[in-house]
């Protein structure tokens, strides 16, 4: 399957075997620029592994992941990765500002340019007033925002998110979902978002991919690939009552292993 011109990420028959077990049977997937693609599935279906293959942390056993037409061989600054465990993804000895700065230092952005870019990115995620705080002084939701801010500072081609709101309470999760949606719209980001929460996937995504665990030839990893034609911008109350939302939810429910 040849990818279209505005494809950012292309999974070309990506299969992954770990520890003798086939986690993913060949998956074909293209993610276009500006798309928000959510990946759902039961535990062990390989959704995080698929994401990590795109990040370059895991090498596929078969096929390849391509970014802008070139195969991914390792981690790259242009592919930002947001970890679920925000506590361990931030440097606890650096302030919020300095944590974001890490991305710019790595990219060797000149020191004079950094403060401006950091301030802008912190403003975008709503952390402008907390620039000099340490991660330990922040709530979980705010720490996750710092991580997102750092990823934004990388000015990435694509943002990969591994159940980023999984460790947060329901209210914080909803707030961050709306903020992320706004952010993605404003910055025109391309996002691949892994979650175990079906409603979250339908709420945020333009497309949702469902994966199966223990893939076989008859029942491969890729179980479903559906468009989510719900109106934008999405809203926590009205979108979740939309008949199409409910229909899609019903359709995808059993893919989660229920």
């Amino acid at each position: 399957m040849t990818p279209a011109a505005d494809t950012v990420l292309h999974f070309d028959q990506v299969a992954i075997t770990l520890g003798g077990r086939q986690i993913l049977s060949p998956v074909d997937l293209s993610i276009r620029r500006g798309e928000f693609v959510c990946v759902i599935g039961p535990s062990g279906c390989g959704k995080t592994t698929l994401l990590r293959a795109a990040a370059g942390f895991v090498a596929p056993s078969g096929g390849s992941v391509q970014r802008q037409g070139k195969a991914i061989t390792g981690p790259s600054r242009e592919v930002a990765f947001v970890f679920q465990d925000y506590g361990r993804a931030l440097l606890p000895w650096r302030t919020v500002q300095a944590n974001v700065s890490l991305a710019l230092e790595a990219a060797q952005v000149p020191a004079a340019e950094r403060p401006g870019r950091i301030a802008r990115v912190l403003q975008t995620v709503g952390l402008g007033a907390h620039a000099d705080k340490f991660p330990a002084q922040l709530s979980g939701g705010m720490q996750q925002r710092v991580q997102i801010a750092r990823c934004l500072a990388q000015q990435p081609d694509v943002m990969l998110m591994d159940e980023p709101f999984g460790a947060l309470d329901a209210m914080t999760r909803e707030t961050l979902q709306d903020e992320l949606a706004r952010l993605v719209r404003e910055e025109g980001l391309t996002v691949m978002f892994v979650t175990h929460d079906l409603e979250e996937a339908l709420y945020l995504g333009d497309r949702v991919i469902a994966l199966r665990s223990n893939p076989t030839a008859a029942l491969p990893s890729l179980a479903a690939l559906i468009e989510v034609p719900l109106p934008q911008p999405r809203d926590q109350l009205s979108t979740k009552e939309h008949p199409e939302f409910l229909r899609l939810r019903r359709e995808l429910y059993h893919y989660l292993g229920h």
Binding site: S76, F81, R88, E105, F134
Partner: protein
């Protein structure tokens, strides 16, 4: 309990603490003044105080204290610098660590003063000899702490580093060593204790001007009050240096507190 009674209790405890210490000093006074313990071994508190004041104001005690202090601090700074650099060098390579770490574990229990005869053979009975042994002996806690801290960088931080394409050197500098900071600071505290001890022993053996030599000479000439005055000063050196370091540690590790 309301705040007034909690402060009253705290005050009461502080007063009690002072009282108990006072009681011990009174016991000391009684034992020495009455002759129950030979005054040649246990000078009276007044005699000790007199020696202390006399020695500091008019005599050489101030100079001796300064000599021991500077020896201790210089050796400690050298030891810390060496320990961190070598620790970073060895610790930044998993392979180097595997080959070298067991040897270091063998050296860990070795008394720092044990290399003094070797140092005397190499450098003679000099101030530099003492400094060399201090630096060598005090280096190990910091080196081992640096190694330990570097080895325990969380996988997630390593992945963040790879994702940002930080490079090996910057990983060690910006993530590895700061991550090891709590361990390194604890090692430096231990180093300071070793530094003081080896400085005193060195002064005793190599007849270098300082508190160590002073108390040895006092004992040899049966000047018990001078001896006790020296012990008091050494205790004070140990106490103050520890307190200062603890304060510095608190400041440097303030990011740990939420």
């Amino acid at each position: 309990m309301n705040r007034l009674s909690t402060s009253m209790v705290a005050l009461g405890n502080a007063a009690g603490s002072v009282l108990v210490l006072g009681a011990f000093i009174a016991l000391w006074w009684a034992a020495s003044t009455s002759g129950w313990v030979n005054r040649a071994f246990l000078p009276t508190p007044q005699a000790t105080l007199a020696s202390l004041v006399q020695g500091l104001a008019g005599g050489d005690l101030a100079a001796y204290t300064w000599a021991t202090l500077s020896r201790m601090v210089t050796g400690w700074v050298l030891a810390s610098a060496l320990g961190i650099s070598l620790g970073a060098l060895i610790g930044s390579s998993v392979r180097a660590r595997e080959w070298i770490a067991p040897t270091l574990e063998f050296i860990r229990p070795l008394p720092a003063s044990a290399v003094m005869p070797l140092a005397i053979a190499l450098f003679g009975l000099s101030g530099n000899m003492v400094l060399a042994v201090v630096a060598f002996g005090a280096m190990w806690p910091v080196l081992l702490a640096t190694l330990h801290g570097l080895a325990n960088v969380h996988t997630q931080l390593r992945e963040v580093s790879r994702s940002l394409e930080l490079g090996h050197f910057n990983f060690v500098l910006k993530i590895g060593l700061p991550n090891a900071m709590p361990d390194i600071l604890a090692g430096m505290r231990l180093s300071l204790t070793v530094s003081l001890i080896v400085s005193v022993v060195g002064e005793m053996i190599a007849s270098q001007a300082g508190l160590g030599q002073a108390i040895l000479l006092a004992a040899r000439s049966f000047q018990a009050s001078d001896l006790f005055a020296g012990i008091v000063l050494l205790g004070a050196l140990g106490f103050v240096s520890n307190v200062l370091l603890a304060l510095a540690e608190r400041r440097l590790l303030r990011w740990q507190r939420s």
